[in-house]
């Protein structure tokens, strides 16, 4: 009987510890899908597809300072000329 109590308490302790422990990286946050567009902070224009993503077609404002390469959804052609 004594033995049984001991093993159960190990299990209980384990459970308790697991419950108390904060998950690594914090709680899991769920977010819904959303859409928004980035506009030029200089002149307020949107970024049209044909003008590319890296620079504003109207005032030349630099949106992204990197040169885009081919990825899953972004392609090389998305660099502004």
């Amino acid at each position: 009987m004594e033995e049984k109590k001991k093993t159960l308490s190990i299990l209980e302790k384990m459970k308790q510890k697991a419950m108390e422990q904060k998950p690594y990286g914090g709680e899991f946050l769920e977010e819904d899908a959303k859409v928004n567009a980035r506009t030029c902070s200089n002149c307020g224009a949107g970024r049209a597809k044909q003008d590319g993503l890296t620079h504003c077609a109207y005032c030349g404002f630099e949106f992204l300072s990197v040169k885009l390469s081919d990825g899953i959804n972004i392609k090389k052609e998305d660099n502004s000329r």
């Binding site: 049984k4 093993t7 299990l11 697991a18 977010e31 899908a33 859409v35 972004i74």
Partner: protein, 286 residues
């Protein structure tokens, strides 16, 4: 020697009792936790499970340590070497029994993990059906259609004004690639099982053949010897066939699994194929 053996057997028996008791108590708890844990990755459940497995591990480790300490290095006089070997073998067999019990419980504990990935995948598909036509361009207000299931943040162009809108998938849609392999494995697990059964079948055939060969040693009757030889040849042939079939079955499983995975997340097909090739090569090497 006899005394040490008895003490060792008693010790193992106690460990066995402890292991059985602990595992029996842990299994229902784990099943309950698995069902109750609402965390996306069931992290609490996994924490407790690894704790339980660690306890089992420490029991086995203790047994192995004592075996090494008291049995393997048991001091014995030169003249008693054969008695020592017998003693050591008996103790080792007893230890293997404990290890066997541990393995059986480990499988049972691993089996407490249940997760239906189909449900999660269906949720992602349902969500996509809802959001597909839900969004509007933030520049001009005309609808922005989400043309396929995206699992990473992407740009979608507005059909009217051409503005590139940033589409951010929901958290569960972002999990698609993470979920994909588990789901594909779940869908093709019967194929994996067929592959994993091969070594057991081969062992069985081998033992059958081996037993027959042993029975030939004292056989005098030529007819019987001839008959048995034919049977042995047949067994060996079947054994060889299984051996050749094994890698084919693995490849069949892997192909089916990756086909499913590609179907679930076609955007990553190229990467999946690289992974497929690597797994296949790894399998050939080992």
């Amino acid at each position: 020697m006899q005394e040490t053996k008895e003490r060792f057997f008693l010790f193992i028996e106690k460990l066995e009792d402890k292991l059985t008791e602990f595992a029996e108590a842990a299994i229902p708890e784990l099943i309950e936790l698995n069902n109750a844990d609402t965390d996306e990755f069931k992290r609490k459940y996994h924490l407790v499970k690894s704790g339980v497995l660690g306890q089992l591990e420490s029991i086995i480790k203790k047994a192995r340590e004592v075996y090494e300490d008291k049995i393997t290095y048991f001091p014995y006089p030169e003249s008693k070497s054969s008695a020592f070997y017998l003693f050591r073998n008996e103790c080792q067999n007893r230890l293997s029994e404990l290890e066997e019990l541990d393995r059986a419980y480990r499988t049972k504990i691993e089996d407490t993990f249940q997760e239906d990935y189909e449900i999660k995948y269906q949720k992602i598909l349902d969500e996509y059906a809802i959001i597909q036509n839900k969004f509007h361009c933030s520049q001009c207000g005309s609808p922005v259609v989400v043309d396929k299931l995206y699992f990473t943040t992407t740009y979608i162009s507005c059909a009217s004004c051409g503005t590139r809108n940033t589409f951010e998938p929901s958290t569960q849609a972002k999990m698609l690639e993470h979920l994909g392999r588990d789901l594909a494995e779940q869908r093709t697990k019967h194929l994996l099982k067929a592959y994993e059964e091969i070594p057991g079948k081969m062992q069985e055939l081998y033992l059958k053949g081996h037993k027959m060969k042993l029975s030939l040693i004292h056989e005098k009757d030529k007819n019987i010897i001839q008959q048995k030889n034919i049977q042995i040849q047949e067994i060996e042939k079947a054994h060889k066939e299984l051996e050749e079939k094994s890698p084919q079955l693995y490849q069949k499983y892997l192909r089916a699994m990756f086909d499913e995975w590609n179907k679930i997340n076609p955007d990553m097909q190229q990467e999946h194929e690289k992974f497929y090739n690597r797994l296949l090569i790894d399998h050939k090497i080992h």
